[in-house]
Symmetry: C2
Subunit: 358 residues, 2 copies
């Protein structure tokens, strides 16, 4: 049994005022000097400062926040926090970007637990947060409704919704998917599958990445058929079965790097050589991609910069400066690594190096 350490009671302004023999108002003015109406003589000011130091006075942030309706704290909502330690460094960069920007302006960052979408925003508008950054905010009617009924400042990150109820920061997913398809087509692939996991249907990133994939296929005049869509369990994608049911697939584009990794592992377990038998490309080029063997070719999004932009936009919003842009789209690039190459048994030799037309 640990004998509880003496926890000294905390000092209030009132006590400081008493000690200094002045009014509470004077203490407030001197210590947090704002109101232009209250001037205090240097002499008294000094006495007050002394008293404060002597009593180890520490202003109470709650009281202040309550009074000012400002907490200088912003919240971060992200989906599937549970996966966080699971590989994808995405969250780290995101966090670093948000935090670095916030801290520069003396804001604090609160990580929020996952909350059912149905009550997310309203449950957050309890005065403790000046605003929130919502990663992967889904574009759902319920959310739209909350957004318009809430007084909370929100900015979406990695979100591109159909409304403009809040500023949104995202990367050019569509173009990113285009880069992937271009890359694969150029290598000689024609049967390029798109992989997604069950349960991510509402994720805006997935939607736009898929869109971009479809459009890119079209651009290359490659017809899309349902069997190119590989919907799987993110924990154990049954690649082998699917691949044998869908002969001819030579490349898989997974909508995020973690899924790509799982797919690669599953394929390898089944005896596939990557990239000889199957090329795999993912989205989100991070250190994780380098841990795979072969290393994963992937699209890089400037997540740290995006996160910073989100933080900056939110702070502007909070401080009353309507941001000039209501949405930012950051460019993506392709990091070619080892998991993509020419298809081994190129099916139609004549189409091998000439992916563009016919």
């Amino acid at each position: 049994m640990m004998n509880r350490i003496e926890k000294p009671a905390t000092t209030t302004m009132k006590e400081v005022a008493q000690e200094a023999g002045v009014s509470i108002a004077a203490v407030s003015k001197v210590l947090h000097g704002k109101g232009p109406n209250i001037r205090v003589s240097e002499a008294r000011a000094e006495v007050i400062r002394e008293a404060a130091k002597k009593l180890r006075y520490q202003p109470n942030g709650l009281a202040r926040s309550l009074r000012m309706s400002r907490t200088h704290t912003i919240g971060l909502i992200w989906e599937n926090m549970a996966d966080i330690g699971d590989g994808p460094l995405y969250y780290m960069y995101l966090l670093d970007g948000v935090a670095s920007e916030l801290f520069r302006k003396h804001y604090r960052l609160t990580i929020l637990p996952e909350i059912p979408h149905s009550s997310t925003i309203s449950s957050l508008s309890d005065g403790r947060l000046d605003g929130v950054i919502w990663c992967k905010m889904p574009d759902l009617p319920g959310i739209r409704d909350q957004l318009s009924h809430s007084s909370l400042n929100v900015v979406g990150l990695n979100t591109q919704a159909t409304h403009s109820l809040c500023p949104m920061i995202t990367c050019d997913n569509e173009h990113g998917s285009g880069l992937v398809v271009d890359h694969l087509v150029e290598l000689g692939h024609r049967n390029i599958a798109f992989a997604q996991d069950w349960g991510s249907e509402d994720t805006p990133d997935l939607i736009t990445r898929y869109d971009g994939y479809r459009k890119a296929l079209q651009r290359h005049e490659i017809p899309f058929t349902e069997n190119l869509l590989f919907r799987c369990d993110k924990h154990k994608p049954e690649v082998e079965g699917w691949l044998t049911r869908n002969q001819g697939i030579t490349a898989i584009y997974a909508w995020y790097e973690g899924l790509a990794g799982k797919i690669m592992a599953s394929a390898q377990d089944a005896g596939y050589q990557i990239p000889r038998d199957l090329s795999i490309v993912g989205f989100d080029s991070t250190l994780y991609c380098d841990t795979l063997s072969p290393k994963l070719t992937a699209i890089r999004q400037p997540i740290r910069e995006m996160a910073q932009a989100a933080a900056r936009t939110l702070m502007d919003l909070i401080e009353g400066q309507a941001p000039d842009k209501t949405s930012y789209i950051f460019p993506c690039t392709l990091d070619v690594r080892e998991s993509s190459s020419h298809p081994a048994h190129s099916r139609a030799p004549e189409s091998q190096r000439r992916g563009n037309l016919l």
Copy 2:
């Protein structure tokens, strides 16, 4: 120019009371039902709930916290947040551990900006936090002083200090270092250097790891000399110069994996083959170690579990249950990967496979 969306004012209990035609106290009781003194008839309760729903009433957390002196929010202090996106996954696991545990009990997590040690604790005792988890808390007199003068609940993580002013969670660094030395000695190494970067002197982990290294050397009857200590710049360690000045070194043990990575890169740049010419071992076995080539042999600490323990201990402390243990030490294990092997020019063949005595 974005036309600012109508931000509906927030509803207070008073308004709900008016709408329902009851007293504020009744509303409080019904909506957050605590005080056993106030009973409300089911009829009125219903009316109140209706009114609240109609007005989209959302209790104000600040007011509540102020009143109750409880915020259900805990803070996380970690050093060099700046390095966070830089490779080491350590922070991710840490964060995941803390957050998962906290969220289970409906606490929030606030990430704090780095603050000068001189004022850390006092500046945090402003009522907004119920407690903090302090990673790598240094064992400094200033800190000790603050700890005893503050009313804030603190638990240290990855810290082992000489006082018991707060509970501390750490891993068995000393034993970890022992594992490293044992491993290297068993491989035939005798000249094993310890690497640390400038500026980390106060970090408790470094200190105990170094201690463990010294003791292990002693255990193997290998004399320690100053030239076995490689003090370097963490951004660009000048391995080559140091190695030529200190002939005979066949292995380097870096006190954290990021440094090990840098050292490896630097050595490779200078033409060294790892592990043929030089074995390298680090602390903190994470995904990062797998991204290196060769993959880094490293000590694994159960950081996620440690973080959870820290969170749990802190919550217990906050909730008034003095934790039964004032400190926890978690065991470490060694993950042997590719960066360690027999020394190429084993100096004393007779000592090669018989590291224990003589």
